[in-house]
């Protein structure tokens, strides 16, 4: 085991710095992107291309009054926004950005990611419950049901990849994709993981816990100032995390033709999926809550199990042939 060398600390610091900035930059990218897709201008006043909107937004969030409602459960209310940021940042620990650029290459990396994403559900549940507000509570209950359900398919859809790579370690999974990226043999797994990823980060087609037209803002109705900012940033880091995971698991991670360094390939692929996340927000209507659950349990779960069984069967059959 390697000791904490300066190089190692540099990677930790670098990952932390890049992720926090990516989350902030995504605010601008998303607002401009949405404006582009919907044929309007978006924020274009502050600075070149409206880039300073990020600074304006952050300053506004930092200086807003940080109000805790008197009827709220104070310790839990304060704890909830921290959980979302901590769990998402912890997940970045296992992602291999390029050969050697990984904070901790755990041999249970994939399970660690799943564990952290299931812990992330607590931020919604506790935040909504501690707010002591019926809209928040409704949002929290929807969030709990949605995340628990979609976690099941998320984990199962990845098991096909694990079977093909023969390891839970993310860098070994990337190395196993040298011959062929896994999204070709695992196309069903990829689609289901993508859908479950949107549901886990409660992004727009599935943002039912915070559906503003029914629930005001759902679980974070009572949050203001930087505590709201944590939920906000947590969501953007969540979609960055899901994009990174999609790239690592299904699109060959840092692999790519030699004319660009590995890290650039990783960033390009991740940026592509971030763009898809934003495009989805611009173009998809929100399903009803029962439709979402029905869709998950009646279609995605059987499909995932089928994918797993077929993958395992084909792998066994190929091994027999050899």
């Amino acid at each position: 085991m390697e000791a904490a060398t300066p190089n190692y600390l540099l990677i930790i610091g670098g990952v932390l710095f890049v992720m926090l900035n990516v989350a902030a930059a995504l605010i601008w990218v998303e607002r401009r992107g949405l404006a582009l897709f919907q044929d309007r201008y978006g924020p274009n006043r502050a600075g070149p291309f409206g880039l300073l909107i990020v600074a304006a937004d952050s300053i506004k969030l930092f200086f807003k009054q940080d109000w805790i409602p008197p009827f709220a459960d104070k310790p839990v209310f304060v704890l909830a926004p921290a959980i979302v940021v901590v769990t998402v940042l912890m997940s970045f620990v296992v992602i291999p950005f390029a050969p050697g650029i990984v904070v901790a290459d755990l041999n249970i990396g994939l399970l660690f990611f799943l564990a952290m994403s299931s812990m992330g559900a607590y931020s919604i549940i506790l935040g909504g419950w501690a707010s002591n507000n019926k809209y928040s509570l409704l949002g929290a209950m929807r969030g709990a049901a949605q995340m628990i359900s979609y976690e099941v398919f998320m984990g199962l859809s990845l098991m096909g990849v694990v079977l093909m790579a023969g390891s839970f370690s993310l860098s070994e999974i990337v190395e196993a994709q040298r011959g062929m990226w896994f999204f070709i043999p695992q196309i069903i797994g990829f689609v289901i993981f993508f859908i479950a990823g949107i549901a886990e980060t409660h992004r727009l087609p599935f943002d039912i816990p915070e559906a503003e037209s029914e629930l005001i803002a759902g679980f974070h109705s009572e949050y203001s100032g930087m505590k709201f900012g944590m939920f906000f940033i947590g969501e953007y880091m969540g979609i960055t995390l899901i994009s990174c995971m999609i790239v690592t698991l299904f699109f060959g991670g840092w692999l790519g033709p030699d004319f660009l360094p590995p890290i650039v390939w990783f960033i390009l692929k991740t940026a592509f999926f971030l763009g898809i996340f934003i495009l989805l927000r611009a173009s998809m209507p929100r399903p009803r809550y029962d439709q979402l659950m029905e869709y998950g349990w009646k279609y995605l779960l059987p499909l995932t199990l089928l994918n797993l069984i077929v993958t395992a069967g084909v792998l066994l059959w190929m091994r027999e042939g050899v």
């Binding site: 399970l111 564990a115 419950w129």
Partner: protein
């Protein structure tokens, strides 16, 4: 590794004590999550990373969320906390505490006379593959029994959720007989 084990074990014990003594159910469950996380760290230090990950995913991530889900539906209020306080008088602790003290003394005695095993380190490292081979090798009966148990649970849940409440909109309620008559004609 030894010191991380003792820290995690202490956290687990303290968190579990807090679970029992909290009056507010959600706070108790939060401590339960901490306790599960601490147990996961204990697994990790004992050389079972796969078990540690599953402990977090299954217990801390799924089961406690489901319990919280149910508790949120019950909508506990201040009065419930008061009632809990009234039920859990300090003098109720005396009997169980005395009895478990006897057990603790026995446990300490047994640990004291037991031979000290060599520190479990890299030698007893159990990875995911070893867990799978053990489950589908010598312990396959246990896997199948738990499968049957889960199946019974699913069938039971299906049976409870099957009766769908039939709600007819008030406009349709009046039209319903007319429609039938026209169909009969």
């Amino acid at each position: 590794m030894e010191i991380t084990f003792y820290i995690a074990a202490t956290v687990a014990v303290l968190a579990t004590v807090m679970v029992i003594t909290r009056y507010n159910m959600i706070h108790a469950l939060l401590y339960l999550v901490v306790s599960f996380l601490a147990v996961a760290v204990v697994f990790l230090t004992m050389g079972a990373p796969f078990m540690a990950a599953l402990e977090v995913i299954v217990y801390a991530g799924a089961i406690v969320v489901l319990i919280i889900f149910v508790i949120m539906m019950l909508s506990l209020t201040r009065e419930d906390v008061e009632q809990e306080k009234a039920w859990l008088q300090p003098k109720l602790w005396i009997g169980p505490a005395l009895l478990s003290f006897v057990l603790l003394a026995e446990l300490v005695y047994l640990l004291a006379i037991a031979e000290v095993p060599t520190a479990p380190s890299v030698a007893s490292y159990v990875d995911a593959q070893a867990v799978g081979l053990a489950l589908y090798g010598p312990y396959v009966l246990g896997v199948q029994l738990s499968g049957i148990l889960l199946m019974a649970g699913i069938v039971g849940a299906y049976h409870l959720g099957r009766q769908k409440k039939k709600v007819i909109h008030r406009f349709l309620q009046q039209q319903e007989p007319q429609k039938e008559r026209s169909a009969a004609l």
